[in-house]
Amino acid sequence: MSSPSPSTQPDILQNDVILAAESITKVFPGTTALDGVYFNVYRGKVNVLVGENGAGKSTLMKILAGVELPTSGRLLMDGHEVTFRNTREASKAGVGIIYQELNLFPNLNIAENIFAGREITRIDVVDHGAQEKLARKILDRLEQPLSPRMLVSDLRMGQQQIVEIAKALSQNVRVLIMDEPTSALTAAETEALFQIIADLKAHGVAIVYISHKLEELLRIGDHITVLRDGKFAAEAPAADVDITWIIEKMVGRTVRTPSRAHGAVKHSGKELLRVQDLTLPREGKGFTLRRVSFSLYEGEILAIYGLMGAGRTELFECLMGLHTEATGEITLAGKVLRHAPIFDRIASGITLVPEDRQRLGLVQQLSVAQNIALASLRHYLRSFWISDREEHDAVTRMIKELAIKVRSPQQPITSLSGGNQQKVVVAKSLLTRPKVLLLDEPTRGIDVGAKAEIFQIINRLANEGLGILFVSSELPEVLAIPDRILVLSRGRVTGAFGHSEATEELLVRASSAHRQTDLLGVEETGIRDHLTPEMHN
């Protein structure tokens, strides 16, 4: 564990730094996302930005790209102060950005995408010929055998990413920001991307590279900047540091989420859910999930930790029966769920609180009460219609139990805060009388107070005997709440820890490992033995 001496105030070598952020502060209502952050982007280098979720990486990135204006602090480009009021101004100055969620029009072809919004025209008519010729030139430079006329919807993820890069290059980009560019790529596509990055570097383009995959960062990064809780934590040349250093700088925190009283739980040892060799093939080739096996017991809270793209959400989707192509066996309370539709799964006692409340959790046109009752309408039937009184009783009981703040149950769901909306989704799930509750990032986008409340609810439910499986990418949550932690990486289980033995470092390492053997030296066949829970004390 070498410990290089990162300076708290990076020395600025003017001629090497193409873009510098100085003492940037960004305040949002209620939170300070960035607090006096320094960030140097070196010419022709890969400048890595790393930090936990909520550390302020994306805010900083948005400020560099002109999406957000800083509250205070300044940006220097080639030593001169600049202000980017919007992305157009930033791209004029040569700063381009590629978001994690690509911004392409799938219904248009490559050339049309590259020049979208900046079409080359001749007497006000789009000059497709000129666009395609230029697109061809850029693709050649990227050594991509793609025709500019190919539809973007026909391209694989990696190829779409290349179109985004081509789009940036067509604007003479000098600083290219890439947000988690490899999260959706296969290993081969990642290699190809690294080739292109090396080529861009050789042409003097500065890359700002954001990723959670620590090994990847060390491999292609030249300079590493770590953010923690909105503050500048450290900067160092990649050659001088290792994974341990990065993790140390990332998590060196003092704040902790209040922990569960682990001794208090009486764990009956009754198995509620058993997953065996769950495998989900990926479109194209490879696997989204590969031979995932684990068990969940009555009254147990099991966390699933992993990075973006590790297969966490897909695991839950398989449990709910959304992927018919998945293989393996799922046993719920002794009953094998084979090709059972969602309704049957909910009826037999498993229910999901999805990560994306707006898209998957709520029906925006319905009231709070109607949303809460939506999944359990059959419980309020009087012959064949809904008994208003029984529905109302159930809804008000949930509103009281979960302390949902509403003026009236008939209020539109859209008028609630994020935390209260999340509680509505939880309430909807609880009314289906589940045995196993799946929570996908239950605290995403809600404030600190609501987070604590959600965890109190989770603890209480576990004490009542529910089995709780929750996915989170927030380390403090994962360490504080569950009885056991399962780490997924690239669709495989790469680690399993009891509450007492887990540390931030172990989890982060496991989450970027390729397979469990890399980490623990355990043969793959031994995984299942390792996954039986130790009795907590």
């Binding site: 999901l352 998957l360 109607q370 939506l374």
Partner: protein, 352 residues
């Protein structure tokens, strides 16, 4: 959010907004009252018992279809085939009365009595709806296209059923025991035409199903957010299938009533009726995007169109102008719908 009003002024503005939203919600009803007021003032012939019964009878034809259409639109779909289904239903009822059902393999012709014919034709409507539903759910065809196709198919079948000719004089034959068909269109109960009773029955049933049953709630959920509905254990495809079947049945009912009123079945019956039905639904405040709307609203919408048509006829307004005015009213309704959405948003923001 950014207002710097004093607390009392703030709450006053909130309550003014609340009243505004409330009046907006009732706008179709208010429009109906205003229209009726105007026509009563302009022509003495409007507000008479006889005319009102005629008006509601005319409205009933559209309202029955529109109830079914409301279910489809609530799921975010559309059914363009209802007009043709009306025609097909009319022609099949004519065929069954006039020619009976030929069974060549047994060498016999079966004649049904009128109640059986009604049931058979309603089943035919359900079948047409099931065909639409199948295209939409199984084959993933966009509802607009699927039902546009069915529009042509059903109209073609209606024309084929009698070589493009009308089935005239559908009074039945006492010897065959199938008389009484005209009663459906011309009969009265308690002095009110049976057509109106049917409208009341369909509207009440529609209201009950949409508002009180799990199926109804699920229709709203599917139209509001299909994926959230699916994750809540709702069989989304099944719900969609059933709404098209309901819509087909309502259209078949309209076909029966129309044929009975005319005592004849013409293959062009119901042409462009789908547009009237959609207009009634939209006027009634149902969102074409799905998830929002009521059956009562649709009834009011149908009445607005009915009053407008009837009143303009009484005033002697030219047919062409009638169309212009009806169109403008529909456009106005949708514009007001957008305004309501904005008003509600402002209210939600103020209440925080």
């Amino acid at each position: 959010m950014t207002t710097a009003l004093s607390p009392s002024a703030e709450s006053a503005s909130v309550s003014r907004l609340t009243i505004g939203v409330f009046l907006f919600r009732l706008r179709a009803f208010i429009a109906l009252l205003i229209l009726m007021g105007i026509f009563t003032l302009l022509t003495r012939a409007f507000f008479t018992t006889e005319n009102l019964i005629i008006l509601v009878g005319q409205t009933a034809i559209n309202a029955i279809m529109a109830v079914g259409m409301t279910f489809v639109i609530l799921t975010g779909g559309i059914d363009l085939s209802v007009g043709s289904t009306v025609g097909l239903a009319a022609m099949v009822s004519g065929l069954l009365i006039d020619r009976g059902l030929e069974l060549p393999m047994f060498g016999i012709v079966v004649y049904f009595n009128v109640p059986a014919i009604i049931v058979l034709v309603l089943c035919l409507g359900i079948l047409v709806g099931a065909f639409n539903g199948l295209l939409v759910t199984r084959f993933n065809v966009a509802p607009f296209i699927a039902t546009l196709g069915t529009l042509y198919v059903a109209r073609g079948l209606a024309q084929l059923s009698n070589g493009g000719a009308t089935f005239p004089n559908l009074v039945g034959n006492p010897g065959l025991g199938n008389t009484g068909f005209p009663i459906l269109g011309a009969g009265t109960i308690l002095g009110i035409p049976i057509v109106i009773w049917i409208m009341i029955l369909f509207t009440a049933l529609g209201w009950f199903v949409a508002g009180k049953t799990p199926f109804g709630r699920q229709v709203y959920a599917v139209g509001g957010n299909e994926r959230a509905a699916e994750l809540s254990g709702i069989y989304v495809q099944r719900i969609k299938m059933v709404v098209y079947m309901i819509c087909g049945m309502c259209a078949a009912m309209t076909g029966l009533v129309t044929a009975s009123q005319l005592v004849a079945a013409h293959p062009a019956t119901g042409e462009s009726y789908e547009l009237n039905a959609i207009a009634a639904v939209v006027l009634g405040g149902t969102s074409l995007a799905g998830g929002r709307g009521t059956i009562w609203g649709t009834l009011i919408g149908a009445l607005v169109i009915g009053v407008l048509t009837n009143g303009l006829v009484l005033l002697g307004v030219q047919e062409f102008w009638k169309k212009v005015i009806t169109g403008l009213v529909i456009i106005l309704a949708v514009v007001l719908d957008q305004l309501q959405a904005r008003l509600q948003q402002r209210l939600a923001l103020k209440r925080g």
